[in-house]
Point group: C2
Chain length 329, copies 2
Amino acid sequence: MTQTPRIDCLQYANWSEKVFRQMRQGGVHGVHVTIAYHENFREMVLNIEQWNRWFEQYPDLIFMGRTGDDVRLAQQTNRTAIFFGFQNPSPIEDDFGLIEICHTLGARFMQLTYNNQSLLATGCYEDDDTGVTRFGKQAIAEMNRVGLVIDMSHSAERSTLEAIDLSARPIAITHANPHWWHAALRNKSDEVLKALTRSGGMLGFSLYPHHLKDGTSCNVESFCTMIAEAAERYGVEHLGLGSDLCQDQPDSIVTWMRNGRWSRATDFGEGTASAPGFPQQPDWFRDNRDFGNISDGLVQAGFSPEEVAAIMGGNWLCFYDEAFTAQGT
Amino acid sequence: MTQTPRIDCLQYANWSEKVFRQMRQGGVHGVHVTIAYHENFREMVLNIEQWNRWFEQYPDLIFMGRTGDDVRLAQQTNRTAIFFGFQNPSPIEDDFGLIEICHTLGARFMQLTYNNQSLLATGCYEDDDTGVTRFGKQAIAEMNRVGLVIDMSHSAERSTLEAIDLSARPIAITHANPHWWHAALRNKSDEVLKALTRSGGMLGFSLYPHHLKDGTSCNVESFCTMIAEAAERYGVEHLGLGSDLCQDQPDSIVTWMRNGRWSRATDFGEGTASAPGFPQQPDWFRDNRDFGNISDGLVQAGFSPEEVAAIMGGNWLCFYDEAFTAQGT
């Protein structure tokens, strides 16, 4: 196996045979898919049950990924390995022991928070960031032990810096961009990105329009020039993609993502009352078939073929190889 | 690896370091432990969480078993592989998809019923046995698919015969004795045992006093002579042990096993109002250290060394090798 795989470290599509076929058409060998936003443990298990039906239904297209070697197996068999993750710690409820249970069931990433305060840390939409909680410190140690990656994509600044510091293993920000490129609340400060990458962590660049400079109108040159700047600041080996692709989802889903069961009034998150729905994707990244536009853009931005391959998936594969197994194994 | 392992295919002790050390002292390499009687899915998961703590606490004594090879690993490393099972289908609730989830979490045996009617079949204490239900037929096919063994130890006659017939893979009666030896409600008819073993299934002989001729006073000669008779009737290759050892349990546990949450009045099961507690074990099988008394008794009953080894664990190991993986793998 000499070719480097393509990995997208965050998608939440309205899954269908069409989407799985587009993964194949785009040559995507590994995808980290969100299986929980606000779900409790039992509800999250129902989502795995649905994935088990898809794995049974489309064995020629997708299968469940557990280790980096499953990405290699996907390359060898022309399929896509699907890795589970949570955007909120709600599936572990208030129960330390569920961390290992979730890992056994296939979870490989868990955000310590979505946008709000969680039992573990503070989300980026809260007014005050009190850092990692008492339960959060225990959870980080347990996630380190079993091989469940700490993801701080939606977390607030102090919480993120503390998680990087507390974690004995490198963590990830699977889907966000640098704040210095586009000053969105969800994008990350230079300080966070330096601390993340210095500790061996990974950043997945987001293609969600609210995270892009000029939103839907952002062009691929701007996106790839930003990546070149990030490579200079943080080192190319810490960079990958986490597109945040929410393909084919109805707008009711983004409302649910933002509101779950916690808000009586509608929270618009990164949207507004006048534009509450999903934003339109830029025309150079509409779905899984468009990853070639990004690799072409990276070449144009001056990256070598090896660097392009690393950003398109090689770096995530190295990270997966180290991050998903129990500590010391 | 030339030595045959010792396997006990049913225990429900009040687990402790003492019990795990006695498994080692008795040279027991594999134990099927009950982790659910009346628990729903979430409650069963709490029991796995407790087992995960024991695996972490006593790594030199026990570890979680998933395949027959884990019994071999136990032999090589002088430990005991622990295999999970349910005595009732309550952990799958009304949800087909939980069968695969439970298998992923480590479950390897599931009784279609405990003593009562379940959603899948009829238990041996019901007045009428209506056989395998509509959900039960779906569940059998799914258990066959994923490699979760159908156990009919507590099920009624017709349900058991139907399950044997419906299952595409051999099933098990992990802990019961022949009705022709001791006419207890829980012991199995000759017809059931013939159908079970002709289809490649396994019988684990129980050492629970209510299943023994003369109860606590049963002697090892009587027990082993019964096994010799069973070997003539059914073939030695289908026979093993499933002691039903409930060591160190307080009597409140047998009350809970019998009553769960289903009965306001106290059900005494195999006990009586005047003797509602756990019966006393016979003095030749008090705990895991006493398996040598049984292998000695089997020699006395005329079995060859190879046959003794097969009954003490070799037969269960062959069954484990075939039964625990997904169909067609």
